[in-house]
Amino acid sequence: MSELTRSVEALLFISTEPLSLGELATLTEAPPERIERPLDALLDRYCEERSGVVLEKAAGGYGFRASPDTADVCARLMERPPARGLSQAALETLAIVAYLSPVSRPEIARIRGVASDSAVANLLERGLIEDAGRADTPGNPVVYRTTTVFRRTFGLEDEEALPALTQFELTESDHQALRARLHLVADQRAGQA
Protein backbone atom coordinates (compact mmCIF):
# COMPACT_ATOMS: atom_id res chain seq x y z
CA MET A 1 0.00 0.00 0.00
CA SER A 2 1.49 3.33 -1.05
CA GLU A 3 2.19 6.07 1.46
CA LEU A 4 -0.48 8.25 -0.11
CA THR A 5 -3.04 5.45 0.10
CA ARG A 6 -2.21 4.94 3.78
CA SER A 7 -2.68 8.65 4.44
CA VAL A 8 -6.03 8.79 2.61
CA GLU A 9 -7.19 5.67 4.48
CA ALA A 10 -6.23 7.14 7.85
CA LEU A 11 -7.82 10.51 7.07
CA LEU A 12 -11.13 8.91 6.12
CA PHE A 13 -11.02 6.77 9.28
CA ILE A 14 -10.51 9.59 11.73
CA SER A 15 -12.71 12.23 10.08
CA THR A 16 -16.14 12.88 11.55
CA GLU A 17 -17.35 14.13 8.13
CA PRO A 18 -17.06 12.65 4.64
CA LEU A 19 -14.05 14.15 2.83
CA SER A 20 -14.12 15.38 -0.78
CA LEU A 21 -11.40 14.67 -3.30
CA GLY A 22 -10.30 18.31 -3.01
CA GLU A 23 -10.09 18.13 0.78
CA LEU A 24 -8.08 14.89 0.62
CA ALA A 25 -5.73 16.53 -1.89
CA THR A 26 -5.22 19.59 0.32
CA LEU A 27 -4.63 17.51 3.44
CA THR A 28 -2.15 15.16 1.79
CA GLU A 29 -0.57 17.99 -0.25
CA ALA A 30 -0.99 15.94 -3.43
CA PRO A 31 -2.61 17.06 -6.72
CA PRO A 32 -6.31 15.98 -6.86
CA GLU A 33 -5.75 13.65 -9.82
CA ARG A 34 -3.20 11.69 -7.74
CA ILE A 35 -5.87 10.96 -5.12
CA GLU A 36 -7.96 8.88 -7.52
CA ARG A 37 -5.70 5.81 -7.58
CA PRO A 38 -5.49 5.52 -3.77
CA LEU A 39 -9.28 5.95 -3.57
CA ASP A 40 -9.79 3.14 -6.08
CA ALA A 41 -7.48 0.88 -4.09
CA LEU A 42 -9.40 1.65 -0.90
CA LEU A 43 -12.82 1.20 -2.58
CA ASP A 44 -11.57 -2.24 -3.54
CA ARG A 45 -10.16 -3.13 -0.12
CA TYR A 46 -13.22 -1.82 1.71
CA CYS A 47 -16.05 -3.37 -0.32
CA GLU A 48 -19.02 -5.27 1.06
CA GLU A 49 -17.59 -8.67 0.17
CA ARG A 50 -14.30 -8.09 1.97
CA SER A 51 -14.96 -5.97 4.99
CA GLY A 52 -17.40 -4.97 7.74
CA VAL A 53 -16.47 -1.37 7.01
CA VAL A 54 -17.30 -0.08 3.56
CA LEU A 55 -15.93 2.97 1.74
CA GLU A 56 -18.68 4.90 0.09
CA LYS A 57 -19.12 8.00 -1.98
CA ALA A 58 -21.75 10.06 -0.21
CA ALA A 59 -22.97 13.61 -0.50
CA GLY A 60 -19.99 15.82 0.25
CA GLY A 61 -17.32 13.22 -0.36
CA TYR A 62 -15.98 9.84 0.63
CA GLY A 63 -16.60 8.23 3.97
CA PHE A 64 -16.47 4.85 5.67
CA ARG A 65 -19.63 3.28 7.01
CA ALA A 66 -20.63 0.00 8.61
CA SER A 67 -21.59 -2.55 5.93
CA PRO A 68 -25.38 -3.09 5.61
CA ASP A 69 -25.29 -6.67 6.95
CA THR A 70 -23.91 -5.39 10.29
CA ALA A 71 -26.73 -2.84 10.67
CA ASP A 72 -28.56 -4.77 13.42
CA VAL A 73 -25.47 -5.14 15.58
CA CYS A 74 -24.53 -1.49 15.05
CA ALA A 75 -28.04 -0.33 15.93
CA ARG A 76 -27.64 -2.16 19.26
CA LEU A 77 -24.54 -0.07 19.97
CA MET A 78 -26.33 3.18 19.20
CA GLU A 79 -29.33 2.22 21.32
CA ARG A 80 -27.21 1.28 24.29
CA PRO A 81 -28.31 3.40 27.26
CA PRO A 82 -25.57 5.74 28.49
CA ALA A 83 -23.12 3.51 30.33
CA ARG A 84 -22.54 5.72 33.34
CA GLY A 85 -24.93 7.68 35.47
CA LEU A 86 -24.78 11.46 35.49
CA SER A 87 -21.33 12.78 36.31
CA GLN A 88 -21.01 15.30 39.13
CA ALA A 89 -20.31 18.01 36.54
CA ALA A 90 -23.40 17.07 34.54
CA LEU A 91 -25.59 16.93 37.65
CA GLU A 92 -24.43 20.38 38.77
CA THR A 93 -25.04 21.81 35.29
CA LEU A 94 -28.46 20.17 35.15
CA ALA A 95 -29.34 21.59 38.58
CA ILE A 96 -28.43 25.11 37.40
CA VAL A 97 -30.57 24.72 34.29
CA ALA A 98 -33.45 23.31 36.37
CA TYR A 99 -33.45 26.11 38.96
CA LEU A 100 -32.57 29.08 36.72
CA SER A 101 -33.94 28.10 33.32
CA PRO A 102 -33.59 29.58 30.76
CA VAL A 103 -29.83 29.83 31.21
CA SER A 104 -26.93 30.16 28.74
CA ARG A 105 -23.66 28.25 28.59
CA PRO A 106 -21.54 31.30 29.56
CA GLU A 107 -23.75 31.85 32.60
CA ILE A 108 -23.44 28.19 33.64
CA ALA A 109 -19.65 28.48 33.30
CA ARG A 110 -19.63 31.67 35.38
CA ILE A 111 -21.69 30.14 38.18
CA ARG A 112 -19.73 26.89 38.23
CA GLY A 113 -16.39 28.63 37.83
CA VAL A 114 -15.35 26.18 35.10
CA ALA A 115 -16.16 25.71 31.39
CA SER A 116 -19.13 23.38 31.14
CA ASP A 117 -19.30 22.65 27.42
CA SER A 118 -18.95 18.88 27.66
CA ALA A 119 -21.47 18.68 30.51
CA VAL A 120 -23.97 20.66 28.42
CA ALA A 121 -23.28 18.44 25.37
CA ASN A 122 -23.78 15.32 27.49
CA LEU A 123 -27.12 16.58 28.89
CA LEU A 124 -28.32 17.55 25.40
CA GLU A 125 -27.41 14.08 24.12
CA ARG A 126 -29.31 12.46 26.96
CA GLY A 127 -32.29 14.67 26.17
CA LEU A 128 -32.39 16.10 29.71
CA ILE A 129 -32.05 19.71 28.52
CA GLU A 130 -32.91 21.43 25.26
CA ASP A 131 -32.29 24.59 23.31
CA ALA A 132 -34.81 27.31 24.31
CA GLY A 133 -33.90 30.10 21.90
CA ARG A 134 -31.34 32.84 22.36
CA ALA A 135 -30.65 35.32 25.15
CA ASP A 136 -30.80 39.09 24.68
CA THR A 137 -27.37 39.43 26.29
CA PRO A 138 -24.23 40.30 24.22
CA GLY A 139 -23.31 37.57 21.75
CA ASN A 140 -26.87 36.22 21.91
CA PRO A 141 -25.90 32.86 23.42
CA VAL A 142 -28.25 29.90 23.15
CA VAL A 143 -30.22 29.33 26.36
CA TYR A 144 -31.30 25.98 27.75
CA ARG A 145 -34.21 24.58 29.72
CA THR A 146 -35.06 21.15 31.06
CA THR A 147 -37.25 18.72 29.10
CA THR A 148 -40.11 16.31 29.62
CA VAL A 149 -37.50 13.55 29.70
CA PHE A 150 -35.89 15.38 32.63
CA ARG A 151 -39.18 15.69 34.54
CA ARG A 152 -39.97 12.01 33.99
CA THR A 153 -36.47 10.87 34.93
CA PHE A 154 -36.52 12.84 38.18
CA GLY A 155 -40.20 12.20 38.85
CA LEU A 156 -41.09 15.91 38.89
CA GLU A 157 -44.54 17.03 37.79
CA ASP A 158 -43.50 20.54 36.79
CA GLU A 159 -40.81 23.12 37.47
CA GLU A 160 -42.55 24.38 40.63
CA ALA A 161 -42.03 20.95 42.17
CA LEU A 162 -38.24 21.29 42.41
CA PRO A 163 -37.02 20.39 45.90
CA ALA A 164 -36.45 23.22 48.39
CA LEU A 165 -32.93 24.51 48.97
CA THR A 166 -31.44 24.69 52.44
CA GLN A 167 -29.23 27.69 51.61
CA PHE A 168 -31.94 29.77 50.00
CA GLU A 169 -35.64 30.35 50.47
CA LEU A 170 -37.35 29.69 47.16
CA THR A 171 -40.38 31.94 47.50
CA GLU A 172 -40.25 34.13 44.43
CA SER A 173 -41.93 32.72 41.40
CA ASP A 174 -39.10 34.02 39.25
CA HIS A 175 -35.57 32.95 39.88
CA GLN A 176 -33.82 36.30 39.71
CA ALA A 177 -32.92 36.46 43.41
CA LEU A 178 -31.44 32.95 43.38
CA ARG A 179 -29.57 33.80 40.20
CA ALA A 180 -28.11 36.94 41.79
CA ARG A 181 -26.99 34.99 44.87
CA LEU A 182 -25.33 32.29 42.75
CA HIS A 183 -23.48 34.97 40.77
CA LEU A 184 -22.35 36.69 43.96
CA VAL A 185 -20.93 33.50 45.48
CA ALA A 186 -19.29 32.55 42.17
CA ASP A 187 -17.59 35.96 41.98
CA GLN A 188 -16.36 35.64 45.57
CA ARG A 189 -14.94 32.23 44.74
CA ALA A 190 -13.32 33.50 41.53
CA GLY A 191 -11.79 36.42 43.43
CA GLN A 192 -9.96 33.99 45.66
CA ALA A 193 -8.88 31.40 43.14
Binding site: A10, F13, I14, S15, T16, E17, P18, E56, A58, G63, F64, R65, A66, A71, C74, A75, M78, E79, P81, L86, L91, E92, L94, A95, I96, A98, Y99, I111, R112, E125, R126, G127, V149, R152, T153, F154, G155, L156, A161, L162, P163, A164, L165, T166, Q167, F168, L178, R181, L182, V185, A186, Q188, R189, Q192, A193
Partner: protein, 246 residues
Protein backbone atom coordinates in the same frame (compact mmCIF):
# COMPACT_ATOMS: atom_id res chain seq x y z
CA UNK B 1 20.12 48.70 34.91
CA UNK B 2 16.58 49.97 34.67
CA UNK B 3 14.17 47.44 36.15
CA UNK B 4 11.49 48.41 33.65
CA UNK B 5 13.35 47.03 30.63
CA UNK B 6 14.26 43.70 32.18
CA UNK B 7 13.28 41.24 29.45
CA UNK B 8 11.36 38.18 30.66
CA UNK B 9 10.61 34.87 28.99
CA UNK B 10 8.05 33.10 31.16
CA UNK B 11 5.36 30.50 30.45
CA UNK B 12 2.59 33.04 30.96
CA UNK B 13 4.37 36.10 29.61
CA UNK B 14 7.15 37.24 27.29
CA UNK B 15 8.34 40.84 27.24
CA UNK B 16 9.63 43.59 29.50
CA UNK B 17 9.01 43.54 33.25
CA UNK B 18 7.17 46.87 33.27
CA UNK B 19 4.67 45.57 30.72
CA UNK B 20 4.11 42.51 32.92
CA UNK B 21 3.41 44.80 35.87
CA UNK B 22 0.98 46.82 33.80
CA UNK B 23 -0.81 43.65 32.67
CA UNK B 24 -1.03 42.39 36.25
CA UNK B 25 -2.53 45.72 37.28
CA UNK B 26 -5.07 45.50 34.51
CA UNK B 27 -5.76 41.90 35.55
CA UNK B 28 -4.87 40.67 32.08
CA UNK B 29 -2.22 38.39 33.54
CA UNK B 30 -2.99 36.34 36.64
CA UNK B 31 -0.43 37.22 39.27
CA UNK B 32 -0.95 33.79 40.77
CA UNK B 33 0.41 32.24 37.58
CA UNK B 34 3.57 34.32 37.44
CA UNK B 35 6.65 32.38 38.60
CA UNK B 36 8.37 35.09 40.63
CA UNK B 37 11.51 32.99 41.12
CA UNK B 38 12.08 33.11 37.36
CA UNK B 39 11.79 36.90 37.34
CA UNK B 40 14.38 37.10 40.11
CA UNK B 41 16.64 34.66 38.26
CA UNK B 42 16.36 36.77 35.09
CA UNK B 43 17.23 39.91 37.06
CA UNK B 44 20.24 38.36 38.75
CA UNK B 45 21.43 36.96 35.43
CA UNK B 46 21.16 40.38 33.80
CA UNK B 47 23.01 42.05 36.66
CA UNK B 48 25.72 39.41 36.46
CA UNK B 49 26.11 39.86 32.70
CA UNK B 50 26.54 43.58 33.16
CA UNK B 51 29.00 43.05 35.98
CA UNK B 52 27.42 45.81 38.04
CA UNK B 53 24.60 46.12 40.51
CA UNK B 54 23.42 49.61 41.27
CA UNK B 55 21.75 49.87 44.64
CA UNK B 56 19.01 52.21 43.52
CA UNK B 57 17.62 49.87 40.87
CA UNK B 58 18.23 46.77 42.99
CA UNK B 59 16.19 48.17 45.88
CA UNK B 60 13.43 49.27 43.54
CA UNK B 61 13.37 45.78 42.14
CA UNK B 62 13.32 44.22 45.60
CA UNK B 63 10.41 46.34 46.71
CA UNK B 64 8.40 45.56 43.62
CA UNK B 65 9.11 41.85 43.82
CA UNK B 66 8.43 41.72 47.56
CA UNK B 67 5.07 43.39 47.02
CA UNK B 68 4.20 41.01 44.18
CA UNK B 69 5.29 38.07 46.29
CA UNK B 70 3.21 39.07 49.29
CA UNK B 71 0.10 39.58 47.18
CA UNK B 72 0.72 36.28 45.40
CA UNK B 73 1.02 34.43 48.70
CA UNK B 74 -2.36 35.84 49.76
CA UNK B 75 -3.82 34.67 46.46
CA UNK B 76 -2.40 31.17 46.66
CA UNK B 77 -2.92 30.52 50.35
CA UNK B 78 -6.13 32.20 51.41
CA UNK B 79 -6.06 30.45 54.77
CA UNK B 80 -3.45 31.63 57.21
CA UNK B 81 -2.80 28.22 58.75
CA UNK B 82 -0.60 27.42 55.78
CA UNK B 83 1.94 30.10 56.63
CA UNK B 84 2.63 29.68 60.31
CA UNK B 85 6.03 30.76 61.47
CA UNK B 86 8.61 28.08 60.71
CA UNK B 87 12.11 27.78 62.04
CA UNK B 88 14.76 27.97 59.29
CA UNK B 89 15.36 24.22 59.69
CA UNK B 90 11.65 23.44 59.35
CA UNK B 91 11.37 25.76 56.38
CA UNK B 92 14.28 24.04 54.69
CA UNK B 93 12.88 20.57 55.37
CA UNK B 94 9.50 21.65 54.04
CA UNK B 95 11.01 23.22 50.94
CA UNK B 96 13.12 20.13 50.36
CA UNK B 97 10.11 17.80 50.66
CA UNK B 98 8.14 19.95 48.21
CA UNK B 99 10.95 20.06 45.70
CA UNK B 100 11.27 16.29 45.82
CA UNK B 101 7.54 15.86 45.31
CA UNK B 102 7.59 18.32 42.41
CA UNK B 103 10.59 16.59 40.78
CA UNK B 104 8.64 13.34 40.71
CA UNK B 105 5.87 14.95 38.70
CA UNK B 106 8.40 16.61 36.43
CA UNK B 107 9.73 13.12 35.77
CA UNK B 108 6.23 11.84 35.03
CA UNK B 109 5.65 14.83 32.70
CA UNK B 110 8.82 13.89 30.81
CA UNK B 111 7.61 10.31 30.51
CA UNK B 112 4.29 11.49 29.03
CA UNK B 113 6.10 13.77 26.57
CA UNK B 114 8.38 10.96 25.37
CA UNK B 115 5.50 8.54 25.06
CA UNK B 116 3.46 10.91 22.87
CA UNK B 117 6.53 11.72 20.75
CA UNK B 118 7.49 8.06 20.27
CA UNK B 119 4.14 7.01 18.85
CA UNK B 120 1.83 9.85 17.92
CA UNK B 121 -1.70 8.56 18.40
CA UNK B 122 -4.37 10.35 16.40
CA UNK B 123 -7.88 8.94 16.49
CA UNK B 124 -11.38 10.08 15.65
CA UNK B 125 -12.93 12.21 18.37
CA UNK B 126 -16.65 12.19 17.77
CA UNK B 127 -19.18 10.10 15.89
CA UNK B 128 -18.39 8.24 12.66
CA UNK B 129 -19.38 10.26 9.57
CA UNK B 130 -22.05 7.96 8.19
CA UNK B 131 -23.12 6.25 11.41
CA UNK B 132 -26.79 5.47 11.92
CA UNK B 133 -28.54 8.27 13.82
CA UNK B 134 -28.89 7.91 17.56
CA UNK B 135 -32.42 6.91 18.51
CA UNK B 136 -34.50 9.07 20.87
CA UNK B 137 -33.14 8.85 24.41
CA UNK B 138 -34.45 6.10 26.57
CA UNK B 139 -36.46 7.36 29.53
CA UNK B 140 -36.03 5.54 32.81
CA UNK B 141 -38.87 6.94 34.92
CA UNK B 142 -37.97 8.02 38.48
CA UNK B 143 -34.44 6.75 38.02
CA UNK B 144 -32.85 9.88 39.51
CA UNK B 145 -33.30 11.51 42.89
CA UNK B 146 -34.43 15.16 42.58
CA UNK B 147 -32.83 16.02 45.95
CA UNK B 148 -29.44 15.64 44.31
CA UNK B 149 -30.31 18.71 42.21
CA UNK B 150 -31.04 20.75 45.34
CA UNK B 151 -27.82 19.51 46.92
CA UNK B 152 -25.80 20.62 43.87
CA UNK B 153 -27.25 24.14 43.94
CA UNK B 154 -26.83 24.36 47.74
CA UNK B 155 -23.12 23.62 47.34
CA UNK B 156 -22.84 26.49 44.87
CA UNK B 157 -24.56 28.83 47.35
CA UNK B 158 -22.01 28.33 50.13
CA UNK B 159 -19.71 31.35 50.12
CA UNK B 160 -15.98 30.62 50.21
CA UNK B 161 -14.17 31.22 53.53
CA UNK B 162 -12.95 34.83 53.73
CA UNK B 163 -9.27 35.58 53.14
CA UNK B 164 -7.59 36.54 56.39
CA UNK B 165 -5.33 39.52 55.73
CA UNK B 166 -4.71 40.35 59.39
CA UNK B 167 -1.09 39.30 59.11
CA UNK B 168 -0.29 41.75 56.34
CA UNK B 169 1.98 44.01 58.33
CA UNK B 170 1.78 47.06 56.16
CA UNK B 171 -1.36 48.30 54.50
CA UNK B 172 -1.13 47.52 50.81
CA UNK B 173 -0.81 50.75 48.89
CA UNK B 174 -3.37 51.20 46.19
CA UNK B 175 -2.04 52.15 42.77
CA UNK B 176 -5.41 53.72 42.03
CA UNK B 177 -4.80 56.41 44.64
CA UNK B 178 -1.70 57.53 42.76
CA UNK B 179 -3.43 57.29 39.40
CA UNK B 180 -6.03 59.73 40.70
CA UNK B 181 -3.46 61.98 42.37
CA UNK B 182 -1.31 62.26 39.23
CA UNK B 183 -4.30 62.84 37.01
CA UNK B 184 -5.49 65.67 39.21
CA UNK B 185 -2.02 67.26 39.21
CA UNK B 186 -1.97 67.05 35.40
CA UNK B 187 -5.32 68.77 35.14
CA UNK B 188 -3.66 71.95 36.43
CA UNK B 189 -0.11 71.53 35.21
CA UNK B 190 1.56 70.19 32.07
CA UNK B 191 3.94 68.00 34.01
CA UNK B 192 5.59 67.27 37.33
CA UNK B 193 8.85 65.91 38.72
CA UNK B 194 8.43 62.32 39.90
CA UNK B 195 10.90 62.73 42.78
CA UNK B 196 8.98 65.69 44.14
CA UNK B 197 5.65 63.92 43.81
CA UNK B 198 6.83 60.97 45.92
CA UNK B 199 9.07 62.93 48.29
CA UNK B 200 8.80 61.71 51.87
CA UNK B 201 6.81 58.58 50.99
CA UNK B 202 7.89 55.11 52.15
CA UNK B 203 9.39 52.65 49.66
CA UNK B 204 6.21 50.68 49.07
CA UNK B 205 4.24 53.84 48.30
CA UNK B 206 7.01 55.02 45.99
CA UNK B 207 6.81 51.70 44.18
CA UNK B 208 3.04 52.04 43.85
CA UNK B 209 3.50 55.58 42.54
CA UNK B 210 5.99 54.27 39.98
CA UNK B 211 3.51 51.57 38.92
CA UNK B 212 0.87 54.30 38.54
CA UNK B 213 3.20 56.25 36.24
CA UNK B 214 3.88 53.12 34.19
CA UNK B 215 0.16 52.54 33.93
CA UNK B 216 -0.43 56.13 32.73
CA UNK B 217 2.34 55.68 30.16
CA UNK B 218 0.73 52.43 28.97
CA UNK B 219 -2.62 54.15 28.61
CA UNK B 220 -0.99 56.90 26.58
CA UNK B 221 -1.95 59.61 29.05
CA UNK B 222 1.58 60.68 29.98
CA UNK B 223 5.16 60.40 28.76
CA UNK B 224 8.26 60.16 30.92
CA UNK B 225 11.24 62.42 30.33
CA UNK B 226 14.68 61.71 31.69
CA UNK B 227 17.60 63.84 30.48
CA UNK B 228 20.29 61.41 31.61
CA UNK B 229 20.56 58.00 33.25
CA UNK B 230 19.69 58.30 36.95
CA UNK B 231 18.62 61.87 36.29
CA UNK B 232 15.32 63.14 37.64
CA UNK B 233 12.20 61.81 35.90
CA UNK B 234 9.67 64.32 34.63
CA UNK B 235 6.14 63.12 33.93
CA UNK B 236 4.46 65.09 31.16
CA UNK B 237 0.84 64.92 30.05
CA UNK B 238 0.40 63.69 26.49
CA UNK B 239 -1.72 66.07 24.42
CA UNK B 240 -1.68 68.51 27.31
CA UNK B 241 -1.54 71.42 24.86
CA UNK B 242 -4.77 70.42 23.10
CA UNK B 243 -6.49 69.91 26.42
CA UNK B 244 -5.39 73.39 27.54
CA UNK B 245 -6.93 74.87 24.40
CA UNK B 246 -10.19 73.04 24.76
Amino acid sequence: MIVADLELDLDVFQGPFDLLLALILREEVELAEVPIAEIIAAYVERAYERGELDLESASEFLVLVAALLEIKVRLLFPSDEEIEELTPEQAEAELFARLIEYRRFQGAAGWLRDRAAQTPRIFRIGPAPLAPPRPAPLVLEFSEDPWRLAEAVDTLLVPPPPIDVSSVRRPLVSVDVFLERFRSILRDRRGFAFDEAVHGLDRLSQAAAFLAVLELVKRGEVAGEQAETFGPIRVVAVGGAEQALA
